[in-house]
């Protein structure tokens, strides 16, 4: 938790973003994964040709749309 906050401070801290201010975060180029098919393909290629694998769970903070 401490490490995370230190990282966050380094990157400019957290600000509260209101639901109507999430337009930029909703952009396709701001998604953690905007092309799941290509990501899966590249992951498969790298995992089969290199030793490393893994690293993230499945999540995303999006536009806050309900």
């Amino acid at each position: 938790m401490r490490l995370m906050c230190l990282v966050l401070i380094f990157l400019g801290g957290c600000e509260t973003v209101k639901p109507w201010e999430r337009g930029t975060l909703a952009r396709p180029e701001m998604q953690l994964d905007s092309d799941p098919l290509e990501t899966k393909l590249r992951e498969q290629v790298y995992q089969s040709k290199e030793a490393a694998s893994g690293g993230n769970g499945a999540a995303g903070a999006g536009c806050g749309c309900n």
Partner: protein, 381 residues
């Protein structure tokens, strides 16, 4: 002589990750298809002692359909079909100059793999729960995997925590087992737990941190190598950070990802992914990208196969367990209109033992270079 490459088997066994969802029910249905071509560069003839010096060519077709169901559910269907041909390394031995040379298999006729995955998600006010199953089949390798995951939104969706568990059970039946003295049948399984925390940092930035732990056990050797003995167990873990930042004045986004990997076979690695998503005009986007990779060698890696070692002592000359680094440079072009997206990308990957942070004594002759081309189409309705 027909030969099956372990490349395919490794492709199957390693990455049966199931579709990931964000915590909100998708508002529309999405249909995606992609066609990709993977071409490995030939090995210089002077590094090959026997067998073909050509390497692998793979064609991949992928399909995906994601659709909301009612007010609280969604469903995803994924299918993949790959066809491959080429030769792969069987082993190494010290050549006249004292450096390891490759023994390659003969060129193979075309083989194929099919994978299908199904996943369903239930959404509640601030959380979502996903259940998924996947099955992959090819001549010499069959695998089934299961996944359960949950995602919880906090702070009006500014913060998201996710947790996932997956289990995979694989069966190998190497081809021409009797002829080459390979194990006729074997199995392995993999259990994995992963978690992530995603935090909105401001109107223009997001940061995700993730961690995963995987335990594998069973037959982990490469059955197609002349001499390859690996431990019966492997514990792997990885931590990652992914950062997305939008620059209004440039109308572009920066992506920066870092992953550190470590396992109990003695390998650790660093991966950095950097890309710049530049918007041009209405609907066009150009994305140059760079990937830097570096790994240290496994504790039982041998540059050249050593037949004097006892058969139960771990050893492998597989280049994927050696110390080296790789640089990948690519460019992707995207055109997006309300209901359609078309994209084309090319990536060039080059590996070299000089890039490694803890390189092996000799550069492995099988370190590979490849070109990956991908055409994608998406329709939203």
């Amino acid at each position: 002589m027909k030969h099956k490459s372990t490349t395919v088997a490794a492709l199957t066994g390693a990455a049966m990750s199931l579709p990931a969802f964000s915590g909100t029910q998708p508002a529309e249905s999405t249909l995606s298809v992609s066609f990709s071509q993977y071409r490995e560069a030939d090995i210089p003839k002077d590094e090959v002692v026997a067998g073909s010096h050509e390497r692998y060519d793979i064609e991949v077709g992928k399909f995906r359909l994601v659709t909301p169901l009612g007010a609280d559910w969604s469903l995803a269907v994924d299918a993949t079909r790959e066809t491959m041909s080429g030769a792969s390394p069987w082993g190494t031995l010290y050549g006249a100059t004292g450096e390891p040379n490759l023994i390659m298999s003969g060129a193979t006729i075309s083989d194929s793999r099919t994978e299908v995955a199904l996943s369903s998600t239930r959404y509640t006010d601030n959380a979502s729960y996903t259940l998924g199953v996947a099955r992959s089949e090819e001549d010499d390798y069959k695998a089934t995997s299961y996944r359960i995951a949950g995602e919880w939104d906090r702070d009006n969706k500014l913060s998201t925590i996710a947790l996932g568990f997956s289990y995979s059970s694989d069966e190998l039946s190497p081809t021409e087992a009797v002829l080459f003295g390979r194990v006729p049948e074997a199995s392995r399984r993999s259990r994995s737990i992963s978690g992530s925390w995603t935090q909105v940092l401001g109107k223009n930035a997001v940061l995700q941190s993730g961690i995963s732990l995987t335990k594998k056990d069973g037959y982990l050797d490469d059955p197609y190598k002349l001499r390859d003995v690996r431990p019966d167990e492997r514990t792997q873990w990885a931590v990652s950070l992914r950062y997305r930042r939008f620059y209004d004045n440039r109308n572009a986004a920066l992506h920066l990802d870092y992953r550190y990997y470590d396992d109990d076979w003695g390998i650790d690695s660093h991966t950095i992914d950097l890309s710049w998503h530049q918007n041009l005009g209405i609907g066009f986007q150009l994305v140059p990208r760079v990937r830097i990779y570096s790994q240290a060698e496994a504790s039982f890696f041998e540059a050249a196969d050593d037949y004097t070692l006892p058969k139960n002592q771990p050893q492998s000359s597989d280049f994927r367990l050696s110390g080296y680094g790789a640089l990948s440079v690519g460019l992707k072009a995207i055109y997006r209109i309300p209901a359609w997206t078309v994209s084309l990308s090319v990536d060039q990957y080059r590996s070299d033992e000089r890039f490694g942070h803890n390189k092996s004594r000799y550069e492995h002759p099988a370190l590979l270079d490849f070109t990956l081309t991908n055409l994608g189409l998406e329709y939203r309705f």
